[in-house]
């Protein structure tokens, strides 16, 4: 039964909360808003950390298997022939795992970004927190920074391990072009920047829509649209090079540097003025060698040309792309903080 008498004398200052020792869980020792953010989202954070570790362990194990096979292959002295067909199993694993990693940023945006603030707005706990003594800007900043930091850490680790798995195969498997989204988006700075972008977009959507489920769906849509745009334009970040031959229109194609990836619409015909004619030039005369040659000569063709992206540009392109993503992320974060400061509730 309730006792109407209460001890209301102010207790000694700075009584440490009992919970601190009694039921301290495994986790970081934090205080202030950081404690609150960790306590509120610790399930999500531990899930993220756990999944990252599972991913790392899986990649290390798969790479180990692959390396065993690769070392056996190298020992048998068939190194120059490229990889035998039965090695495809290992490259496929790499490729499939990389494709799954490609969904990580989307998942982070939908499952961590969107509910981050929408959840508090929906349940009213945003009101609870902002009626304490901390400013809402500080709370928002801590929330964003801690989650973003963890996301950056986890995606950086995943990206680094994946790069490490891929590196022995670089240049050895024709099917694993560096321009494919699996490697371009899954290695270097791109996965971190991409995940931060989707996360911030999710947060912004959640903040504006104020409903967890709706904002998760909308985030999925927005992030999907972003990835379409990114896929369309990411190779435009590079400087397309052209390899040429001057052996006439019927001569062989130019050889590309190691790991270079051909771009454009097939091989071109090169004219003496340096113009590139597309592969359909003189296609009608293809069947008669003489007529074909005559046709090409009439167009002043002196050789063949192929557009390509050298692997040396990969690094630059990735950093350029990551920089763009981080710039957009920063803009979204500024929007979130400005909006949150003024009209959060």
């Amino acid at each position: 039964m309730t006792t109407p008498t209460l001890d209301l004398t102010p207790s000694a200052p700075a009584v440490p909360p009992r919970e601190g020792r009694a039921s301290r869980r495994f986790g970081p020792r934090l205080s202030g808003t950081a404690w609150l953010v960790w306590r509120q989202h610790r399930a999500a954070y531990w899930t993220l950390i756990g999944l990252t570790l599972v991913g790392v362990v899986a990649m290390v194990w798969l790479r180990g298997q692959m390396m065993d096979q690769l070392n056996a292959l190298d020992a048998s002295g068939r190194k120059s022939d490229g990889l035998p067909p039965d090695f495809e199993k290992y490259t496929n694993r790499l490729f499939t795992f990389g494709s799954f990693l490609g969904y990580v940023p989307v998942l982070l945006g939908v499952f961590l970004g969107a509910p981050l603030i929408a959840g508090d707005l929906e349940s009213g706990t945003a009101k609870l927190v902002t009626s304490q003594s901390v400013s809402r800007l500080r709370w928002l900043t801590t929330k964003l920074a801690m989650t973003a930091g963890l996301i950056a850490l986890c995606t950086a680790v995943l990206g680094a391990v994946f790069t490490w798995w891929w590196s022995p195969l670089r240049g050895r498997a024709d099917t694993l072009e560096w321009t494919s989204s699996v490697f371009f988006d899954g290695t270097g700075p791109v996965p971190v920047a991409y995940a931060l972008l989707t996360f911030s977009v999710g947060v912004a959507v959640g903040m504006v829509l104020r409903r967890t489920l709706v904002s998760m769906v909308v985030t999925l849509g927005v992030v999907g649209a972003l990835s379409v745009v990114w896929d369309r334009f990411r190779l435009d970040l590079g400087n397309v090079m052209t390899a040429t031959t001057r052996g006439g229109g019927d001569g062989g194609l130019p050889t590309l540097p190691d790991q270079a990836v051909q771009q454009g619409q097939g091989a071109y015909f090169l004219t003496s003025s340096g113009q590139k004619l597309d592969w359909m030039t003189c296609l009608a005369q293809q069947e008669h060698t003489k007529a074909h040659t005559a046709c090409l000569e009439s167009k002043d063709v002196i050789g063949r040309a192929v557009d390509y992206l050298p692997v040396s540009q990969m690094h630059t392109m990735q950093w350029l792309g990551a920089g763009l993503m981080l710039a957009v992320t920063a803009a979204v974060v500024v929007f979130v903080l400005t909006w949150g400061r003024g009209r959060l509730l």
Binding site: P4, L8, S11, V15, E19, S23, Q40, K127, S135
Partner: protein, 388 residues
């Protein structure tokens, strides 16, 4: 100002014979009267500014964490022409008042009258469309105001997955003036286990935890929006007692809203009544009651002499409106009661209902509840100080 000609009624009118009127209301529900330790501290109605020449420093004034009496004249809340318009229309319009510090103030009005909007404005969760507001002498949302204000919103949101201990830790982590002892006392008085998750608690227990969070902050201004709606009467009584004791001990200003006056009338010494987005009554409970009288109209007898007074409402015979209550004519006094018949100060409820039922009667803002530039008040009071 519409109330100008009645402004000083409360002071000029001799107290009606009913005597210490607070007890008449309370006595009728004997046993429910709570200890009111602050009754003795009532400042005389208005005019106490002159004795407090330093009151305009409220913004720089920081009371210690322990007990402290606000100087009379310090405003806990001051609103000037405050208005809030939502898409559906004005929720609050042209509201000007002042809540002196150290009071327990009831904010009463029908559902949708603008109570929650007013509280949202004070706690900086709602931005005003018009007007200005000062909370404890500072802008709402400023660090000083936020630190010294605690707010318990109607929904009493808490993190459902936190334990009770986690929730109190939240208070400890986010509030520099946190008092763990008080918070744990409130929680344990209701036998709420500290290890229980909030989501598993009953509505009343959750309210208790929310109360603990608000009290533990050691606020100078405590704002409670419909705090009692989901509590059983016993717990309601106990928490109200806690509230008054806390407020008395620490000089906390309390603003507590309800659409049921019965919840509040035994703990409030100040009253704000809102209806239709406007302020209808504001002032000290005693001040407001003393400014009115219920003139008895005996059956078949001559009507009471109403000449200098303003009629608020004529209350018919018992049962005429389907409710209990005394009959008579509720008037705002415009001078001494000359009518020889029985005249009694109205109960708070009679007063409130009278004003809510008669929207055409001008609002009554008692002098102590009138906002004003504190410098103006000091200047105005200066000659009196000199001659006195």
């Amino acid at each position: 100002m519409v109330t100008a000609h009645h402004g000083s009624a409360g002071r000029r009118t001799p107290r009606p014979a009913a005597g210490p009127s607070a007890s008449t209301a309370a006595a009728r529900t004997s046993g429910s009267r709570l200890h009111r330790p602050r009754a003795a501290r009532f400042p005389p109605p208005a005019r106490s500014y002159a004795q407090e020449p330093h009151v305009n420093h409220s913004a720089t004034h920081h009371p210690g964490p322990a007990g402290y009496a606000h100087p009379a004249g310090t405003s806990a809340i001051e609103a000037h022409g405050l208005g809030k318009k939502y898409r559906r229309g004005w929720a609050l319009r042209e509201v000007s008042f002042r809540l002196p510090a150290g009071r327990v103030c009831g904010l009463v009005g029908p559902n949708g009258a603008g109570k929650s909007t007013l509280m949202g404005l004070v706690t900086h969760m709602v931005q005003p469309t018009t007007g200005a507001l000062r909370v404890l002498g500072e802008a709402p949302g400023s660090q000083g105001a936020v630190r010294r204000t605690a707010f318990l919103s109607q929904e009493k949101p808490l993190f459902r997955r936190f334990t009770v201990a986690d929730t109190l830790r939240l208070g400890h982590e986010l509030n520099p003036r946190w008092d763990q002892g008080v918070a744990e006392g409130i929680v344990s008085a209701g036998q709420v286990p500290l290890t229980a998750r909030i989501g598993t608690l009953s509505g009343g227990q959750r309210t208790r935890v929310a109360f603990a969070l608000a009290f533990g902050k050691r606020p100078d201004l405590l704002i409670l929006d419909e705090p009692m709606s989901d509590l059983d009467p016993l717990v309601r009584r106990e928490l109200m007692e806690t509230l008054t004791a806390e407020a008395a001990q620490h000089g906390t200003t309390v603003l507590v809203s309800s659409h049921m006056l019965a919840e509040l009338q035994y703990i409030c010494d100040y009253l704000l009544v809102v209806a239709d987005g406007g302020l209808r009554l504001a002032g000290e409970v005693e001040e407001l009651r003393a400014a009115h009288a219920l003139l008895a109209a005996p059956d078949g007898g001559p009507p009471p002499h109403l000449a200098p007074h303003r009629v608020i409402e004529s209350r018919g015979a018992v049962g005429a409106r389907g409710e209990e209550g005394r009959t008579g004519v509720l008037v705002r006094l415009g001078g001494p009661v000359e009518y020889g018949g029985p005249a009694a100060p109205p109960t708070l409820e009679e007063l409130l209902l009278g004003y809510l039922r008669s929207p055409d009667v001008p609002a009554l803002i008692a002098p102590s509840a009138r906002p004003g530039d504190i410098h103006d008040i000091l200047t105005r009071d200066q000659p009196e100080t000199v001659t006195a």
